[in-house]
């Protein structure tokens, strides 16, 4: 069930109407929300609800075993088994085909590879997200970041909670489970902020992302040889705006819905295209994933504690695996590799004591120049991220060298592109100002604003509902 649909609106209103009267029955409310989450997932495919239950049950049982054991060695063994089990599930559903085809490709380099017609597992929706939640549960319990005794119901609901189930944000067990354990405060709901988040999310997803996808990005990436520099460059910028608005829009709606239910989600995006360097970018883009990778992969690998070479290697490994998490394809691995190269390159640059570098960094225009450079470096990565094959990516980059105007620069494309990218430069005070204005109005007027906003978005948006990009992960 996609967020910007009538079906989801009806579902969510029904859940909201039942969840709050149940607020004083903490356990009953959680059972209801868990069942609602399974219904939410089942409306996509009932066949995979048992998988969701199995993964979360497995992680919960393992986490409880870790928590109850006082023996360090045993805790570590259970952690390893738990994480391995979760990763095996992810590997089977997501990477079987990738591994098989890559192996056959390697075989083909030395001889004629056989062609096996093996079953190809169907990729369950959101599997990358709920497996990562399961691993976060195990990790936080092992590191004793979750101090409270873990109850099965809390663990199951943490993994399956429907606003974040299929495209994040990736919640930390140590932050979210305590919220589940406490009764929700029926007097402290930030309704105005939730409404604004939902409106902003719908606008970003339905207007900006869908418009750019259908009118610019899809046509160019489908057949890049038909287009020249102007259109190709526009499409690359367009994809940068599309993926940001698509994903951050979804996160905003998820956060707003959770807020109305009395829960807080962490911020997942913080104006990433205003970043001045790769490290800054990853502190602003998909924050829940980048911190997950930092805490559960980069730091256990050694982080920056074991010398420069080790640090660079750990960064590369983390980003390569991060790329692979996004998709079972070598283009995603290359994207991750590029991110790793940018991060390593930035460390070298930041650590340089060369006079020329110091002079450059001291220039007053340098922050803006670095923003432009970084944005284009990120866009280079997006070419591989979006291209289905290396051939398409190669053609896209090649066509940048073929002069030609931007024939797809229609009014809706230009307007949505400008808003999608430069909207991130809007001062935070503006957003706070809108929120303050909404806060001064009666809540009923907030409802009026939400209704009018949904109406405007529906009229402005293209017909049909394009799925969220991150659903494929």
């Amino acid at each position: 069930m996609l967020f910007p649909t009538v079906e989801y609106a009806v579902f969510f209103l029904a859940v909201l109407a039942i969840a709050w009267p149940l607020a004083k029955y903490v356990t009953g409310r959680k059972i209801f929300l868990l069942l609602a989450s399974y219904v939410f997932y089942g409306l996509w495919s009932w066949r995979y609800v048992p998988l969701l239950i199995l993964v979360s049950l497995f992680a919960a049982v393992m986490a409880q075993a870790i928590q109850r054991s006082g023996d360090t060695q045993r805790r570590r063994r259970v952690l390893v088994v738990g994480v391995a089990g979760c990763l095996l599930v992810l590997a089977y559903y997501k990477y079987t085909s990738f591994v098989l085809l890559s192996a056959m490709g390697l075989w083909g380099l030395v001889g004629r590879a056989p062609v096996w017609n093996l079953p190809a597992p169907f990729l369950p929706l959101g599997i990358s997200f709920f497996v990562f939640h399961a691993i976060s549960l195990l990790g936080d319990v092992y590191r004793e970041k979750l101090r409270e005794d873990l109850h099965l119901l809390d663990a199951l609901l943490y993994v399956a909670f429907f606003p974040q189930l299929i495209a994040g944000p990736i919640l930390r067990a140590s932050k979210f489970i305590p919220q589940l354990m406490r009764p929700c405060d029926a007097t402290k709901i930030r309704v105005n902020r939730a409404f604004l988040l939902i409106l902003a999310g719908l606008f970003k997803k339905v207007i900006i992302s869908n418009t750019l996808a259908t009118r610019l990005v899809q046509p160019v990436f489908a057949a890049p040889a038909d287009f020249h520099r102007g259109d190709v460059l526009l499409a690359i910028y367009g994809y940068a705006a599309e993926i940001y608005c698509d994903f951050s829009g979804y996160t905003d709606i998820a956060t707003g819905c959770a807020m109305l239910l009395g829960y807080r989600f962490p911020r997942n995006f913080n104006a990433p295209y205003t970043a001045t360097d790769p490290r800054d970018f990853w502190q602003r883009w998909h924050i829940s994933l980048s911190t997950w990778l930092r805490d559960y992969l980069y730091i256990p690998l050694g982080g920056s504690r074991k010398g420069t070479a080790s640090t660079y290697a750990n960064l590369m490994i983390t980003m390569l695996l991060g790329g692979l998490w996004h998709g079972a394809s070598w283009t995603f691995v290359v994207w991750g590799g590029l991110q790793g190269v940018f991060l390593v390159g930035h460390r070298l640059w930041a650590g340089s004591s060369s006079a020329a570098v110091l002079r450059l960094r001291g220039r007053v225009w340098w922050p803006w120049a670095s923003r432009v450079l970084l944005f284009h470096a990120v866009c280079l990565g997006w070419v591989f991220f979006r291209s289905p094959t290396f051939g398409v990516a190669d053609t896209m980059l090649h066509q940048l060298g073929v002069s030609g105007s931007a024939t797809l620069a229609s009014r809706p494309v230009v307007v949505t592109l400008v808003i999608g990218i430069f909207g991130q430069y809007a001062p935070r005070m503006w957003r706070r100002g809108v929120e303050a204005m909404m806060a001064r109005l009666p809540v009923g007027v907030n409802g009026l604003v939400l209704a009018l906003g949904v109406f405007v978005i529906e009229v402005l948006g293209p017909t049909g509902v394009a799925p969220f990009i991150y659903f494929q992960f």
């Binding site: 909201l16 105005n192 259908t214 040889a225 289905p388 303050a436 009923g444 009018l452």
Partner: protein
């Protein structure tokens, strides 16, 4: 608590949500009717459609639907909206005179062609009775010789259909076509469309509008992936697979084929490939049989089998196959659409066949993008 932060109680939130729901229902009654009409036949549609129709009738006196229609027409006028159906419906609702088409539609002329001013319904070929279904299509088909083009002209090929054309197949054809001279490919597809639900997307109206002034020599069509469902026509419900449904769908396929052939185009009907899900595959098999029967009865149309190209020895679904000597995934993970590699197998015979019909004129191929919704 900071100035912009405000906490509300559940009661206040309920009030706000209540206002939202009431206003949204009033403002969006027309949109809700559109949504309900697009639902597949089933309990959801049975419940939702009467409710939203009653709502729409009940709030009609407020004139809010006119507000919505005027907004859509105005958006079309300033070049924002790109959906011909929405624009046409909005113009009907507000009785506005059709003006300029959307400026975002690339090569679409600014003054709409005459066919846009009224719904054009191509009558099916007169016959006394419907063509009986002739059985399953062959695993592989032979492509016959088709008339060549005059020297100095290019062969214009329209790519028509739903997502079976839009995803995988069209992009592969477009990427590979520059290798073949004198071919001009025109994109005329719409994901999510079909022949079963014209109220969602009416090909009889949309196809001439999407083509504009283009007159294709050949039409490659892949359609039907969304047609495995029942529909309602003139108040009568046709359950998928019933004899009445088959007869009605066959009429629609005939009418669609006649539409595509109007102007002298040779239609190449691309078979829908075998599907991973058994239940869905059975539906698609019926649709393929109907399509095959209609194509066989046409003097000019050509059937292009895909089961033997991307299926196993029995024409059943297979995920992997050999492409250019290496093992590749032939279908996307949804088990429905062709992957790029699968589409290469399907396109491998089509493009050389289209190009082989050429005369010796050496004109570089190019692609025109026409009215792609």
């Amino acid at each position: 608590m900071r100035g912009y932060q405000r906490f509300s109680t559940v009661k206040q939130m309920s009030g706000g949500m209540g206002v939202f729901v009431v206003l949204a229902l009033l403002l969006e009654s027309g949109g809700l009717v559109n949504w309900a009409q697009r639902l597949e036949l089933g309990p959801e549609r049975t419940c939702a459609l009467p409710l939203v129709m009653a709502l729409h009738r009940g709030v009609g006196w407020m004139g809010l639907e006119g507000l919505r229609s005027d907004a859509i027409v105005e958006l079309a006028r300033i070049g924002w909206s790109d959906d011909p159906e929405a624009i046409a419906k909005a113009r009907e609702a507000s009785s506005a005179v059709p003006e300029v088409a959307s400026a975002s539609q690339g090569t679409v002329p600014k003054t709409p062609p005459p066919t846009m001013k009224a719904k054009v319904r191509v009558a099916p070929t007169p016959r006394l009775q419907l063509q009986p279904l002739v059985g399953d299509p062959p695993l592989l088909s032979v492509l016959p010789k088709i008339p060549g083009v005059r020297p100095g002209r290019t062969r214009t090929v329209a790519l028509v259909g739903d997502s079976m054309m839009a995803v995988g197949l069209s992009s592969t054809l477009l990427r590979e076509s520059p290798k073949y001279e004198d071919l001009e490919l025109v994109k005329v597809f719409k994901s999510g469309s079909g022949l079963a639900r014209p109220e969602v997307f009416d090909w009889q109206t949309e196809y001439p509008a999407m083509l504009g002034a283009v007159r294709p020599d050949v039409v490659l069509v892949a359609i039907g992936a969304n047609d495995g469902q029942g529909f309602v026509e003139d108040g009568v419900t046709y359950e998928f697979g019933s004899a009445e449904w088959v007869a009605m769908y066959e009429r629609r396929v005939e009418a669609f084929l006649a539409l595509l052939e109007a102007g002298g185009a040779t239609v190449v009907w691309v078979e829908l490939p075998p599907m991973e899900s058994d239940a869905y595959d059975a539906r698609i098999a019926l649709i393929n049989r109907i399509d095959y029967a209609v194509v066989k009865s046409s003097r000019k149309a050509v059937w292009y089998s895909t089961a033997g190209l991307v299926g196993d020895a029995d024409g059943q679904f297979k995920a992997y196959g050999e492409v250019y000597g290496t093992m590749a995934r032939l279908r996307k993970q949804d088990g429905i659409h062709l992957s790029d590699d699968g589409a290469v197998l399907v396109a491998a015979k089509l493009l050389p066949w289209l190009a082989a019909q050429q005369t010796s004129a050496q004109i570089p191929s190019r692609v025109r993008k026409v009215a792609e919704p």
